[in-house]
Symmetry: C2
Subunit: 227 residues, 2 copies
């Protein structure tokens, strides 16, 4: 379902080059539950951005559901992203002018879902992440962890085939973090591929597979048995 082969991502800063991803190959099947861990600056967000079709490799290929997405036009990539991928950004990227409910509703509107069904689904997910009483707050009227939960709700409300979550519990206490992980794991139980970048070893311990990165390379890729 996800196949990266010999992916490199090089950034230029002035005349310096940063090799953010250095020969990364991996294969993730539909429905897997994977943690990506590693030190700050090791390439986790860069890898997730490529998987989420928000960035392209400098060299190497990416096949998603058998299709080589590296060679798609920007518009075609955007369509595939909208149809298949839910992305929880490390720093949320909520729309400042919209309320929490409106931010979460956005993907449903773009997909042409009817108003009554939209209202119902938004209400449901707001309750699932504990934000029913913050529905009409704009992002700057929310706490850091509340914004993070809005980002998670927005990314998951369309039940995409792949959910990519970049540090989804970084701003959350243990209780709210568990609530969020439960929402994500419930979706994974319905066969949605779930890939979580995290610094939290407790979350890493819940997944069946852990990919550990150092300096742009995959240092370890371990699948746990007997769970």
């Amino acid at each position: 379902m996800i196949e990266l082969e010999h992916v490199h991502r090089v950034f230029k800063v002035g005349d310096q080059e940063v090799h953010a991803l250095n020969d990364v190959s991996l294969r993730i099947e539909g429905g897997e539950y994977v943690a990506i861990m590693g030190p700050s600056g090791s390439g986790k967000s860069t890898l997730l951005n490529i998987l989420g079709l928000l960035d392209r490799p400098t060299t190497g290929s990416y096949r998603l559901d058998g299709e080589n997405v590296t060679t798609l036009s920007d518009q075609a990539q955007a369509n595939t992203r909208r149809d298949k991928i839910g992305f929880v950004f490390q720093f949320f990227h909520l729309v400042p002018r919209l309320t929490a409910a409106e931010n979460i509703e956005l993907p449903l509107m773009l997909a042409g879902v009817q108003p009554s069904e939209r209202k119902h689904r938004v209400q449901q997910i707001l309750e699932a992440v504990g934000l029913a009483d913050r529905a009409h707050h704009k992002p700057d009227q929310l706490s850091g962890g509340q914004r993070q939960r809005v980002a998670i709700a927005r990314a998951t409300i369309m039940q995409p085939t792949v959910i990519l979550a970049d540090e989804p519990t970084g701003n959350l206490d243990r209780a709210s973090g568990d609530e969020v992980i439960e929402v994500l794991e419930n979706l994974n139980r319905e066969k949605i591929t779930l890939i979580i970048v995290t610094h939290d070893p407790e979350i890493g311990g819940r997944t069946l597979r852990e990919i550990y990165m150092v300096d742009g390379k995959i240092e370890r890729d371990e699948t746990r048995r007997g769970r």
Copy 2:
């Protein structure tokens, strides 16, 4: 040194009111090392913003070093903030057009420190937070945890009398987080008051005093003995 008495902070959202801080009183002496913990949305950032003179109480008073700062003009508050307080924001607020080194240098320039001394001090702190090789990157060319470390360096380079850090390790792996906490604790050893909002119980466990908030109130305020 820090004295809050019966502080309330009420936000209005439409015709709804959010009681973000609800009768908070506390006293922190110079040189203390305090953790503020509690669930997402409990009022931690709101409390820190008031302590950092970035926000005012709706009612109640705040005395800093014996001076009632609640009644100061905006300009006078800004001066006190610049002179006494180093603030590490939950979401960093770095200047997008400036490099990491320039962001960190900014407080020194505003204070009129000479160029050669500025360069030396910026280099020193970049090394302390492990970012010497990222000096010329702008914020959008840095990882999440790297931006967090720039924010920490900027907040601490002037050796303010009070450091307020809002979730300073939220985006960091254990190793980088320890590095950052070490920088902050070294400053505390030089009698700088250190107040850290954190969701990480390991950091909470390192402080001598823990303030635990729930729904805008201080539920517990415990000082550990025998350390």
